[in-house]
Assembly symmetry: D2
Homo-oligomer: 340 residues x 4
C-alpha cells in the first residue's frame, strides 16, 4: 500500500509499505480517503520544527476515511462507515481524558503526522475510541476538514471565547482555513462578523461567506476600521492567530470585558502588553490548542446541517507537495485537501 | 479464587471459580479489596428487580482494589497501585462518553453486579479506561465508597443542582449513605444544611457531621420546620431520594427559583404535582442517575483532602448477607462495606 | 388622554383620563405606540383570574413606545427614542434584581396590566431602570412583541433549557405567539425544529418559518411521530406550554438527559408522572416564568438582526376586544398587536 | 458634620460641612460607621493618580454604615439597618447593569472617594439601588471590608477564575488585604493554597489563616518552590496583583489549561510574554477590575457564615493618614479600617 513519507527536510517520497495487520481487539482499520493540509504540515515539511521526532515519518495530520475492518469487541463501527480520526494519541484514562478534555491529556503520545506517523497512507489501525463517525451526507473531502480545521474553531469560539448570538467578532485572516470556518460558524449563530484579508479578491469571497464587514489590512489599519465600525465600542471577541503583528491592535479592538482567543502566532510569538489595560478593561486572553473529540463531532454535525467547509483546492496524493505550496502561498482561500 | 454468586432470589453462595486469564492489551487485572453495599444490592438480592439479567451472577456494584497485573499497552497503571472501578460497561466511543458524560453512554452494557457480573470476587479483568487511581492516603475501605456513594452525590449537588457556597440545602434521609455524603460535601463548600432523620440517635450523629439543623421526620413535619428555619423563604436546593412520600413536601420547601435533584424513590415513584406551581415558582426538577468517572476522581480527591465517608459497619466477604440486612435496617448510619 | 380600562369581567371601556405629571427624578415618560396581546390579557378580561387586583384597571401587559420626556438625573434616554417597558414593578435592590435575575425579584409589586395599571394608555411614567431602548430598524409593532413574546422564549430556550446549536427541539403549538418565536430562535442558531399545529394551513406557515418537521396533532400522535423522526432517540429539548394534555407525551419524546422547559398549562395544571423515569432518564423539568431585562434586550437585538416576530393581526386601540377574540380563536398564527 | 477632604497632594483635612438634605425619592441616607483603606486611597493621597478629578474631594472608597433615613418609595430599607455601599456611580439602566455586571456599566460616573466625593464623612445620600444590606452578626468594621476587599476576591476567584473545590491556587502577597481574603475564600471551598509573603512573621500568620504552603519570596524563588510543591504539574489558578515582577514566573507556575487572574500591577504594568506558551499551554489570562453588587452580597454572606476579614489595624477618623502609612508599609497583614 502507499504511504507518503518525510525522509528529511523538504524530502517527501511516495513509497510502498506493508499494510497493517488485522486490527487488534478494541481497534479499527481505516482506509484513508482524504487528508486536509495545515500549517503544521508546512512546518514539518520545511523542518522549522522545534519538535522531537524521528525520520522517516508518514505525514498527514488531519484526515477522513472509511472503516475497512474492526477488531474484536468493537461493536460501534461497521465496515464501509465514514469516519474521521483524532490526531493525537491520548491516553484515554487521565482525568482530562475522562472529562472529555482530550486536548489536555496528561500523557499524550504526540501529534500524528508531526511527531509520530500520520494519515497519508492507504490503511491505518487505530484504537476505536479515537475514531469518530461521519454523519450521512458529509463527503470525505469535507469530513477531512473536521478534526483540525473546523474543530479548532469550534473549540476557540464556543468552548473558549463563549461567543453568543448577537455578539460581534473580529476574525483575523478570514481567507485562511480556520478564518473561513470562523466566519461560517459565527454567522450561523447570528453574530456580526468583521474580518481581515490581504487583497480585494479575497474580500469579495469573505463577503460571499457572510462576513458583514471585510477589511483589507494591506490598505487599511484594522484597529481603526474596527473601532469605527463598532462606534468606538469595540468587538466582543477577537479570533487571533496572527500574533506579534496584530496582538496589541487586537486588544485595542476589544470592548471592555471582551475576549481574545488565539491559537497561533504566524508573525512571531513575542508580545509586550500593558497589564493595566488588561485589568482595567477586564479583558480575557485565552490560549487555545487543538480541540476535543466532542468538538469534532459537533463540527461534523454542523457540516451535516449545511455548513460546508471552504475548499480552495484538491490535489491527488502524489501532488501533496504542490498542495503545501498552495497552502503556504498568498492566493489560497480556504482549505487544501489531498484525495486518495 | 473466591466469588460471591447470586443463584436466585435471596440465594447467595460463596464459591470457588477459576481466576481470570492474564489481562489482554488495554486491560488491567484488579485484586478486589473492598465492596461497598448499596440499595441496588438489596433489590438485586431480594429479586424485586425489573431488570433483564441472568443467574448465576457475581454480586457487588461498588468496589476498590489494587492493580494485580497490566496488559500490553497499559502504561498508566502499575501493579500494587490502589484503584476503584467504574461500575457500568460504557462504550468509550459514543458522543456522551467522549464528552465525559459517561452516565449518558448510548451503548452501555449494563450495571456490573446487577445486570452483569460484579466485583465480589478476588480478581477481575477490566479495560484500563474504566479504572481510576486512588490518591495516596485514602484507605481501600473509604475508596470503595467513591464510585457510587460519593460520586452520585458529587454529580447531584454540583453537576446537576449547581449548589453554590452560601446556599441552603435540605438533605433527605441524612443518615443514609448518600445522605451522609451530601451533608459532608455541602458543608465543605460553606452551605447551610438542613437534614431529616428517623430517630434522635441519628439526629446527634447528623449534627456531629456538621448539619446545621436536623429534623426528626417521625415527630415533625419537615416542610413546616424547613419553612420556619428559612423564615418562609425556602431552601435553594432539595436533595431528594425518598420519592412519593416527600416529593410535594420537598417542592413546598423550595425557594422561588430553587432546584430539586433526585436519584431515587424508595417510598414509591408515582407523584402528582401542579405545573402552575412549577412554572410560577420557576422550579427545576432534575433527575440524576449514576455519575461520571470525573465525579469519582473528584470524590477521591475530596477523600484525600480529609472528607472521609461515614462507615457504619464493615463485614467480611462471607457475611455479605448480614451486611445487606444491616443496610436495609433502621439503625444504619452511613455505608456498609464488605472487606476481603 | 386615552386609557383602556377594565371595569369588571368582560367590561372594557376606552376612557379619557388626565395625563401623568412630568416625570420625577429617575423617571421617564413614555408615549405608548403599540400593545401586544397575550393570554394573560384574555384571562384578565374573562375574569378567570385567581389573582388579587382591584378594578378599574388599565389593561395592556406588553408594549412599546417612545420617550416623551425625561426626569432629572436621567441621562441615558432622550425624547423621541424608541423604547419598550419591563412589565413588572421590580424593586431594583434585592439580590435577584442585583444579579440581573429580574423575574426572581423578592419584592415585586405586581404585573402591569394584570395586577396593577398597564400600558393601554397614551402616556405613562416609569422608573428609567425599567425601560429598555429599541435598536435602530425595529418597528414599534415588532418591538411591542419583545418584552413577553420574544423574551419569554429567549429565557426558556437559552437561560433555562440551554439549547445548543445542532440540537433538536420539539416546539408545542408552533402557531402561537411564543411557538412562532421559538421556531425562529431555534432555527437561527442551527437547531432542528419539530413543531405541532392544529391544522394543515398552519402547518404550511410553520414550515415557511423554518420548522423542519410539522405535526398536525389533530391527525397524528405527536409522541409517535417525534420518536420516529428522531429514530427513537428523542429530542434534546421540549418547549412546553400546553400542560396536562401533553406533559407525559412530551417526556416520552425526550432523549435521555433531555430537558423539558415549560411556561404554561393551557390544558390544565395537574399531572401525574413517574419519578423513576425522571431519574433513570436523567431528565430536567424546568419551570419558566417571565424573563429578565437582559432577555428583552437580547430579543430586540435579534429583531434588529432580522428575526422579525410573526404578526397575525394588528387592530386599533378601540378594537382591543376584537384583538382578544382573534388571539383566543383557532385561526390565529403569531401575535396580535394593538396600535395607537 | 465631619468630612475628611483631600485638598491637594498629601493634604488631608478633617473639616465641618453641612449635612445632606433629607433623602430624595429612591434615595437613602447612610450614617457612615467604618471606612476600609485600599491602595487606591494611597495613590489618591500621594497624587500619583493619572485620573481626572477635582479637589477638594471627600476621600474613602470602601465603607459600611447604617440607614439614617429613607426617601419616598424606598421600602426595602429601614432606619438603623446595617448597610454597605457600592463605590461606583453606575447608571442602573445599561445592558451591563441590567445583567448584574455592574463593573461593566457603560455609563459609570466615577469611583467614589477617588474621582468623585467618597465615604469619609458622617452622612451621605445615595440611590437605594447602590446600597446593600448587611446580614445579622456582621460588625460594621468587618462589613466595611466587603465592597472592595472581599468582593474583588470573590469576583476574581469565582466569577473569573472559576476556582473549583479541590484545585490548587497560588496567592501572591498573601499578607495583603486581598491576599488574606483569597486564602480564606479558597480554603473555605476546599482548595489547596500556596501563598507568598515577604517575611517569616507573615509566613506564620498566613499559615494560621489556613494556607497549606507559604513561600518567603525574599529568600526563595516562588516559581521553583511552586513547581516543586506541585510535583512539576503547576497550579490550577494564580491570583496575581503584583505585575511585572512576577507575571512570567506566575505563568511558569500554571498547569496546562490553568488560569491567571489579575487585578493589579504594583510592581509595574509592562510585561513581555510568549504567545506560543500561551496557546500551547492553553492558558487563560483574565483581567479583573472591581466587583458586582452580587459579589458584595456574597461576601457579606460569607462573613455571616464565619469568614471574618483579617483586620491589621483600626484607627479613628482623625488618624486616617496614619492608617494610610500603615497600609503602605511593610508590616501590614490584612486590612486597615478607619472607625467613626
Ligand atoms: Zn489522557
Ligand atoms: Zn458510550
Ligand atoms: Zn428585586
Ligand atoms: Zn450601567
Amino acid at each position: 500500500m502507499r504511504a507518503l513519507m518525510l525522509l528529511g527536510d523538504k524530502q517527501l517520497e511516495l513509497t510502498e509499505i506493508d499494510p497493517p495487520p488485522p486490527p487488534a481487539a478494541g481497534e479499527v482499520q481505516v482506509r484513508v480517503k482524504a487528508v486536509a493540509l495545515n500549517y503544521l504540515d508546512v512546518w514539518g515539511f520545511r523542518g522549522m520544527a522545534f519538535a522531537k521526532r524521528k525520520m522517516p515519518l508518514v505525514v498527514g495530520v488531519e484526515a477522513s476515511g472509511e472503516i475497512a475492518a474492526v477488531g474484536a469487541d468493537v461493536t460501534t463501527f461497521t465496515p464501509g462507515q465514514g469516519v474521521v480520526m483524532y490526531g493525537a494519541l491520548t491516553c484515554g484514562t487521565c482525568k482530562a481524558c475522562r472529562s472529555g478534555r482530550d486536548n489536555l491529556c496528561e500523557n499524550v503520545g504526540g501529534i500524528m503526522g508531526f511527531h509520530v506517523d500520520g494519515f497519508a497512507r492507504d490503511l491505518i489501525n487505530l484504537p476505536a475510541r479515537l475514531v469518530i463517525p461521519v454523519p450521512a451526507g458529509v463527503s470525505a473531502t469535507d469530513a477531512a476538514c473536521a478534526p483540525i480545521g473546523f474543530a479548532t474553531v469550534q473549540h476557540m469560539l464556543f468552548d473558549n471565547a463563549k461567543l453568543e448570538p448577537g455578539e460581534t467578532v473580529l476574525v483575523h485572516a478570514g481567507g485562511s482555513g480556520i478564518g473561513t470556518a470562523a466566519i461560517l460558524m459565527a454567522k450561523q449563530i447570528g453574530c456580526t462578523v468583521i474580518t481581515t484579508v490581504g487583497d480585494d479578491a479575497k474580500a469579495e469571497k469573505a463577503k460571499a461567506l457572510g462576513a458583514d464587514h471585510v477589511i483589507n489590512y494591506k490598505t487599511d489599519r484594522f484597529e481603526g476600521v474596527t473601532r469605527k465600525l463598532t462606534q468606538k465600542k469595540g468587538v466582543d471577541v477577537v479570533f487571533e492567530h496572527v500574533g506579534a503583528d496584530t496582538f496589541n491592535g487586537s486588544l485595542l479592538c476589544l470592548k471592555r470585558g471582551g475576549r481574545l482567543v488565539t491559537c497561533g502566532a504566524t508573525s512571531g510569538p513575542s508580545v509586550t502588553f500593558n497589564l493595566m489595560q488588561l485589568f482595567q478593561q477586564q479583558y480575557r486572553i485565552i490560549g487555545s490548542f487543538g480541540a476535543t473529540m466532542k468538538n469534532i463531532a459537533e463540527s461534523l454535525d454542523k457540516m451535516a446541517a449545511g455548513l460546508k467547509p471552504v475548499i480552495d483546492t484538491t490535489v491527488p496524493l502524489a501532488e501533496f507537495e504542490r498542495g503545501l505550496e498552495r497552502l503556504a502561498g498568498r492566493q489560497v482561500f480556504g482549505k487544501v485537501v489531498v484525495t486518495f
